[in-house]
């Protein structure tokens, strides 16, 4: 076998090649779930636990303050839960990626003639599947605790918007997965990022009673706008402003973080 027998046409990978590679890697990540169903426990239990917690523990008093009682709070908090769920679950993409790096399999992928993006896109795709699963569970639980789905198209639009935002935030976690040493650090760092974003938002309670400096933060917190947009779409109310701000955040985060993640991945030794 001399160099001349090797086809030189393979310098660039065609789009079909990228799709094939991403598909093969999605299959791999889905097989992981089949091999280890426990990895879906968080996606199954988190929506149940959080819904019950917020509706029955805090729901009464917050609902009273809002003026709609516990039932009114259900209508308020469930769309917010969709936003929260998308964020919390996207964190898994970083820890999973970090585990890949600490096993030899990543060396194999990187020595194969595939686009670097394929490995990352496959991770994002499978994480979105997990997210949709969790959202489905959430909706079943929420109907059980009395949530009234006012608009089905609105529900689907809200879920779609959450998925768009989640896939943008996943690039942040992928970057952490490449840069940080192990899965535990990724999780710890992810928690530090997520916690203030989730609670400093309009997900669980309206922001009017918060101090001004905090309101300034919550107003621009993409999780607030995502939750408010979801609320508008699912229960009714103004949507446009929050929708555009959320989409703007998604595009901006992806535009900055996706190239960073791919670059860090490519140059990691």
């Amino acid at each position: 076998m001399s160099a001349a027998t090797v086809t030189p046409t393979d310098a660039r990978i065609p789009l079909r090649g990228h799709l094939r590679h991403t598909g093969a890697l999605i299959r791999r990540n889905l097989l992981w779930i089949r091999q280890d169903p426990e990895s879906m426990f968080d996606a199954l239990l988190m929506p149940v636990v959080f819904t019950l917690l917020f509706v029955y523990v805090f729901g009464g008093s917050i609902g009273q303050a809002l003026g709609g009682g516990q039932d009114g709070y259900v209508q308020y908090v469930i769309p917010g839960m969709i936003a929260m769920m998308s964020m919390t679950l996207s964190q898994g993409v970083g820890t999973g990626f970090s585990q890949d790096f600490n096993s030899g399999v990543m060396d194999r992928f990187r020595s194969l003639p595939i686009g670097r993006g394929s490995v990352l896109f496959a991770k994002v795709s499978v994480e979105l599947v997990r997210m949709l699963f969790a959202t489905t569970v959430l909706m079943i639980v929420s109907v059980a605790v009395g949530f009234d789905i006012a608009s089905w198209p609105g529900l689907f639009a809200a879920v779609g918007l959450s998925a768009v935002f989640a896939s943008s935030i996943m690039w942040v976690f992928l970057t952490l997965g490449v840069v940080l040493k192990n899965a535990q650090s990724v999780q710890a760092m992810g928690f530090l990022v997520l916690f203030p974003l989730q609670f400093g938002s309009s997900i669980f309670a309206p922001t009017d009673s918060m101090p001004g400096w905090l309101q300034a933060f919550t107003d621009y917190n993409p999780l607030s706008t995502l939750a408010d947009a979801a609320r508008g779409l699912m229960v009714g109310g103004p949507v446009a402003h929050d929708l555009w701000v959320t989409l703007g955040w998604s595009v901006a985060i992806t535009a900055v973080m996706a190239p960073v993640a791919i670059h860090k991945f490519r140059t990691k030794s």
């Binding site: 076998m1 001399s2 160099a3 090797v6 030189p8 393979d10 310098a11 660039r12 990978i13 090649g17 094939r20 590679h21 598909g23 093969a24 890697l25 299959r27 791999r28 097989l31 992981w32 091999q35 280890d36 096993s103 030899g104 399999v105 060396d107 194999r108 992928f109 990187r110 020595s111 194969l112 003639p113 595939i114 030794s269």
Partner: protein, 341 residues
């Protein structure tokens, strides 16, 4: 250099490395390495931990960019043409590079798809390679349930899916028990029989002797010796025959007898009174046979006979001994001589 000229006549060069440098801060993992591997041959890269072996393999398989120098595989430059290069290589790392959560079959199928095989062909290739590496029975089990040897075999199978022209094996048997190590050796020999060019790193002289036709010895990022394995063995003294006479009193007379015979040439026998054995350096199988024959003819009963290859340490001592005059040497020459005596 005459060595390179000789290689150019012996066949096309599949892997070529020139002046390769990679530094990690103060550590010089590679400090100007030159190396050629001819098509269809096995090059063994022998060296202790930290000699730069893994760094070399990682650069050749495009996982790492060198600081300086050039590395090409079947004419493709590792830095400028990584995608073309990746198409013609297979890599088996020091740590099994398979997905442990995936069954063996799925691992191979996935790699087939990543190498652009059509679905049907990827399936067939996965079946074929599992069969060939005796893993068919374990095809559906996650690789995490495999034994060390099975995992390494799966790893080799994964490297073979794309029918690579050049295979890089980074310490393929480190951490395996002797029986499993033999299994892996057999597989590597079969691959070589198929015409694959192999670059293999190892810490064991025995492994290099089993698999490689040529050897490059590296230490602290530098090539300290290289050439045909027989040449090098001659240089480092080849094997040692160790015999123990059943009657310990025979030890010294036997040594004298063998020295008188002169079969062993210049090197003389050594008496090891502690273990009651006699050490005879041998350079060829003929010599070995002649010595055993002479002992038999003399009517001496032996309670044990074994041959030993020089250990990596011994190889290094004899090789670095040649470099004693080199100015960059940090170990004083006399200190080393004391050890070799």
């Amino acid at each position: 250099m005459t060595r390179i000229d000789k290689k150019a006549n012996g066949g096309n060069v599949a892997v070529s490395v020139r002046g390769l440098v990679k530094h990690y801060g103060e550590t010089k993992a590679l400090d100007g390495v030159d190396l050629d591997v001819r098509e269809g041959t096995v090059m063994g890269v022998l060296g202790p931990n930290g000699a730069g072996k893994t760094t070399l393999v990682r650069i050749l398989s495009t996982l790492l960019a060198p600081d300086a120098g050039q590395a090409t595989v079947v004419g493709y430059d590792a830095v400028r043409q990584p995608r073309q290069l990746r198409r013609v290589i297979g890599l088996t790392g020091q740590y099994a590079s398979v997905d442990e959560k995936l069954p063996g079959w799925e691992n191979l199928y996935m790699i087939g798809r990543l190498l652009d095989l059509p679905r049907k062909e990827a399936r067939a290739r996965a079946d074929e390679l599992l069969e060939r590496f005796s893993l068919t029975d374990a095809a559906k089990r996650p690789a995490s349930t495999y034994s060390g040897g099975m995992r390494r075999r799966l790893d080799l199978a994964a490297s073979m899916i794309g029918r690579p022209a050049v295979l890089f094996l980074d310490e393929p048997t480190t951490g395996l028990d002797p029986r499993t190590r033999n299994e892996v050796w057999d597989e590597v020999k079969r691959m070589v029989g198929d015409g694959v060019t192999v670059l293999l790193t190892t810490q064991y002289m025995e492994e290099a002797e089993q698999l490689a036709s040529e050897l490059t010895v590296v230490d602290r990022g530098k090539v300290i010796a290289g050439g045909e394995i027989e040449e090098l063995k001659a240089k480092v003294g080849g094997r040692t025959l160790r015999v123990r006479p059943a009657d310990a009193l025979q030890l010294r007379p036997l040594a004298g007898y063998l020295d008188e015979l002169g079969i062993t040439g210049l090197a003389s026998t050594t008496v090891d009174t502690e273990t009651g054995t006699l050490l005879v350096p041998v350079l060829s199988d003929e010599q070995l046979t002649a010595i055993v024959g002479a002992i038999t003819a003399r009517g001496i009963t032996l309670s044990s006979v074994s041959t030993e290859l020089p250990s990596l340490d011994e190889v290094f001592l004899s090789l670095t001994g040649h470099r004693a005059s080199a100015p960059q040497d940090t170990v004083p020459a006399d200190a080393r001589e004391e050890v070799t005596v």
